[in-house]
């Protein structure tokens, strides 16, 4: 019932969650700036969930901007394209965000930006849903919120599953990050186009876009553009500002009131959720014929001289991006790719921006000081904060005891690893760390049981 009404509805929310300081003021007013590519562009072959891509160029080849350089290695995989023109100088292991070396295609940028012939606008209105999905697959689009799930799979629901809700995720609940916020303000037409294309694929007439109320200007802007649409209805759902509102399951709960059943996928609840930047990327595939070559990256944190939003070509060196912000004004103790709640701390800044890199944060030593772990007070703040209604402290105890029956009963595998429990703990305990360990142990135990 909550979705009847005018263009803007809500505010909606979910149970649990936390209220971290959003720290978005540093960058939310900073327009997206196009960043020049690095001299040497690096493309790790694993840039999406699933199996790595397979190179389709050889060392010494000249490649053009927008040219496919690696083919999807399977169904759950995505093509990779070169964001510059230049020469392939190597296919070799390079350091990546995950802290391990991974086979990567190295391209020497000739700075000519010579476009590949394939890049031309497509009229999606004349294409069948299947042709649209194929074009998205060809463009190598993946979920740009961070999970990097190949988008063409989301657009092809399994036989027999009916999609009822198309939800675009503009919650952007991670502190510091403002790339989705800026995209909504600056390129609303690309986002709306993307939504219309997806509506056609699913044969739907209504799409929802969820935006947290800490972005009133984005809500207004998207609603303005949504009202211009005559053939389809686009509803802006205001969301209460709360972490992790941008989690797929919690966005679905807030918008539809439905829960995705434990162990099932959103598609089982009849919902498809796509991130803002992903949606805009789909729009660009047809508006300009552009494969996924760029993404928006927020660079922020107390070490960064000029916190900024950049449109970065995939393959660009992280170090170069940081230098474009004026570099570090004080020694960085931690550099994070992504947001502070779920991002990955890196050991080496000489890595490339990949499809899933939503942000670069530089934190000084005062921000990451390790505090002494104290005894659990049983205050229940982790229980109250858990968006999945789990008992993080009890899970932690069960992991230590390796009590797998209890872990199953407590719903270990339901944990979405949002980190709310660790964030709120007054005793500096790290329940999530134990939960991750527990998941690995449980998987191993299950595999051994199968043998």
């Amino acid at each position: 019932m909550r979705l009847k009404g005018k263009t803007i509805v809500g505010p909606a929310t979910f149970k649990g969650g936390i209220h971290p300081n959003d720290m978005k003021a540093a960058t939310c007013k900073r327009p997206i700036v196009d960043l020049p590519a690095s001299k040497e562009m690096v493309y790790p072959l694993q840039q999406s969930l699933g199996v790595p891509a397979v190179p389709c160029v050889e060392v010494g080849d000249r490649v053009l901007m927008g040219q496919k350089i690696a083919e999807a290695g399977g169904f759950v995989s995505a093509h990779i394209h070169s964001a510059v023109s230049g020469t392939v100088t190597g296919i070799e292991p390079r350091m990546t965000v995950s802290g391990i070396k991974m086979n990567s295609i190295i391209i020497e940028n000739d700075e000519l930006d010579e476009l590949c012939d394939d890049i031309k606008p497509l009229d999606w209105k004349k294409l069948s849903p299947k042709e649209i999905v194929d074009a998205v697959r060809e463009a190598g689009v993946v979920g740009l919120g961070g999970a990097t799930f190949p988008t063409h799979i989301k657009l092809s629901p399994p036989e027999g599953k009916k999609i009822e809700y198309l939800i675009i995720n503009g919650a952007e609940c991670e502190p510091y990050l403002t790339s989705d916020h800026r995209a909504m303000l600056e390129t609303p037409e690309e986002i709306i186009e993307g939504m219309k294309i997806m509506l056609k694929v699913f044969g739907l007439k209504v799409a929802y876009i969820g935006i947290e109320i800490n972005k009133p200007d984005a809500i207004k802007k998207i609603a303005e553009f949504a009202e211009k649409e005559k053939d389809v209805t686009i509803k802006v759902v205001k969301l209460k500002t709360k972490y992790p509102q941008g989690s797929e399951k919690h966005l679905i709960k807030a918008v539809t009131g439905k829960e995705v059943q434990s162990g099932k996928l959103p598609v089982d609840a009849g919902a498809v959720v796509d991130n803002i930047d992903t949606c805009a990327a789909i729009g660009r595939v047809f508006l300009y014929g552009a494969p996924l070559l760029k993404r928006i990256v927020t660079v922020s944190g107390d070490c960064i001289q000029t916190p900024s939003n950049f449109r970065v070509r995939i393959g660009t060196n992280v170090q170069d991006v940081i230098e474009h912000c004026g570099g570090f004004i004080k020694p960085a103790a931690k550099v994070i790719i992504g947001g502070p709640m779920m991002g990955v701390a890196i050991s080496d800044v000489d890595i490339p921006i990949i499809k899933g890199s939503a942000g670069i944060l530089g934190f000084s030593a005062d921000m990451v000081a390790k505090k002494k772990v104290q005894n659990c007070l049983r205050c229940g703040k982790c229980v109250e904060g858990c968006p999945m209604n789990l008992l993080p402290n009890a899970l932690k105890d069960a992991v230590i005891k390796e009590d797998f029956d209890k872990l199953n009963k407590l719903g270990l595998m339901d944990c979405i690893q949002c980190g709310s429990c660790t964030y709120v703990c007054p005793a500096e305990q790290t329940p999530l760390q134990y939960i991750r360990t527990g998941k690995a142990k449980l998987m191993k135990a299950r595999q051994e049981a199968k043998k």
Partner: protein, 334 residues
């Protein structure tokens, strides 16, 4: 800055990389701050000895904690202020005339026996201050039930020569209902009783602070007080059912202090929301039963202690329903 230099300094840890502002010591300090109005009320009503008693309890509790950690070569936990809080709570639960050495025995019992024997902060299964109060009550019943008359002068050094009175609940128990203090006396603290429990208004100011700071939620104290009020109204009257004076029961004795400051102790109460309601109702039922039918005039401390013991059981049966466990509606997808 060269790449090499940057990398040498980088710390790699798991997410999340940011933490909330809550700390154990901050929480304990908040509760201590919230108890200051009750302590001031105690000083105003019973004189300066209230303060010296509080100082004796707090200092001794901290010293015992420090000594225990020292002897066992464990890192000191004095800095989390939980021992200081236990000492203060103990003092507020004693009559102002309590000999200092007995109070020190109470601190010893609270910190060493109830808290440290079971593993220190977070591991005790009973509220240390309340357990110490129960211990003192069984050991020195006379001293624990000697109530100074409000605004009579109690010597700082020896409390023995104070003029004694009775608590309102004691009067009800004895049937002395003609000379009962007025609601206003109960509200402001012009009554006999423990140092911290006499002034309802002072306790409520502290409680409001804790609620505003989100240190406690209203679930336990709300359920507790409401249950006592309802049961007192139904069963507490002399002229049959539904004639009891609910407000009188709520304002008198240790109910408000216990409900807001002791029944909300994180360590010894359930952390599930439903469990907290059950805990509060359980405390309320026990308190009402002891007050109305029991041998003691007051039952707040024993009620909370008994409910402390069943907390793990309550927790086990009040596990919240996980996200994604609801049945899918008919006719919907899937």
């Amino acid at each position: 800055m060269a790449t090499q230099n940057v990398n040498e300094m980088l710390i790699v840890t798991e997410a999340p990389h940011t933490r909330g502002k809550n700390t154990t010591s901050g929480i304990m300090l908040d509760v201590i701050i919230a108890l200051i109005p009750a302590l001031i009320a105690g000083i105003v009503v019973f004189g300066f000895r209230s303060l010296t008693l509080a100082v004796v309890c707090m200092v001794s509790a901290v010293l015992f904690e420090w000594a225990w950690c020292k002897i066992l070569k464990k890192p000191s936990t004095v800095g989390d202020f939980s021992a200081a809080l236990t000492g203060l709570l103990l003092a507020l639960n004693l009559p102002v005339t309590m000999p200092y050495w007995m109070a020190v025995c109470g601190s010893l019992f609270a910190i060493i026996v109830v808290k440290q024997f079971f593993g220190g902060i977070g591991h005790n299964f009973m509220n240390p201050a309340l357990a110490a109060r129960a211990f003192l009550l069984t050991s020195w019943a006379q001293a624990m039930t000697t109530w100074a008359v409000p605004f009579s002068k109690t010597s700082i050094f020896s409390g023995a020569d104070a003029v004694t009175s009775a608590t309102p609940l004691g009067m009800i128990k004895e049937g002395m209902t003609d000379s009962l203090p007025s609601y206003m006396d109960l509200f402001l603290g012009n009554i006999g009783g423990c140092v911290g429990e006499v002034s309802a208004v002072a306790i409520l100011i502290g409680a409001a602070y804790l609620l505003a700071r989100r240190v406690i939620s209203i679930r336990i104290p709300g359920a507790y007080i409401l249950t006592v009020a309802v049961l007192a109204f139904i069963f507490g009257g002399k002229d049959g059912l539904f004639t009891g004076d609910a407000l009188y029961h709520v304002l008198s004795g240790g109910l408000l202090l216990g409900a807001f400051f002791m029944a909300t102790d994180y360590v010894t109460t359930p952390y599930t929301k439903k469990g907290q309601i059950i805990f509060g109702v359980g405390c309320g039922v026990l308190t009402a039963v002891i007050r109305i039918y029991g041998g003691y005039p007051e039952g707040v401390s024993y009620s909370i202690l008994l409910m402390n013991v069943v907390s793990p059981l309550i927790e086990r049966y009040t596990v919240p329903q996980k996200y994604g466990m609801v049945k899918v509606e008919k006719g919907g997808a899937n």
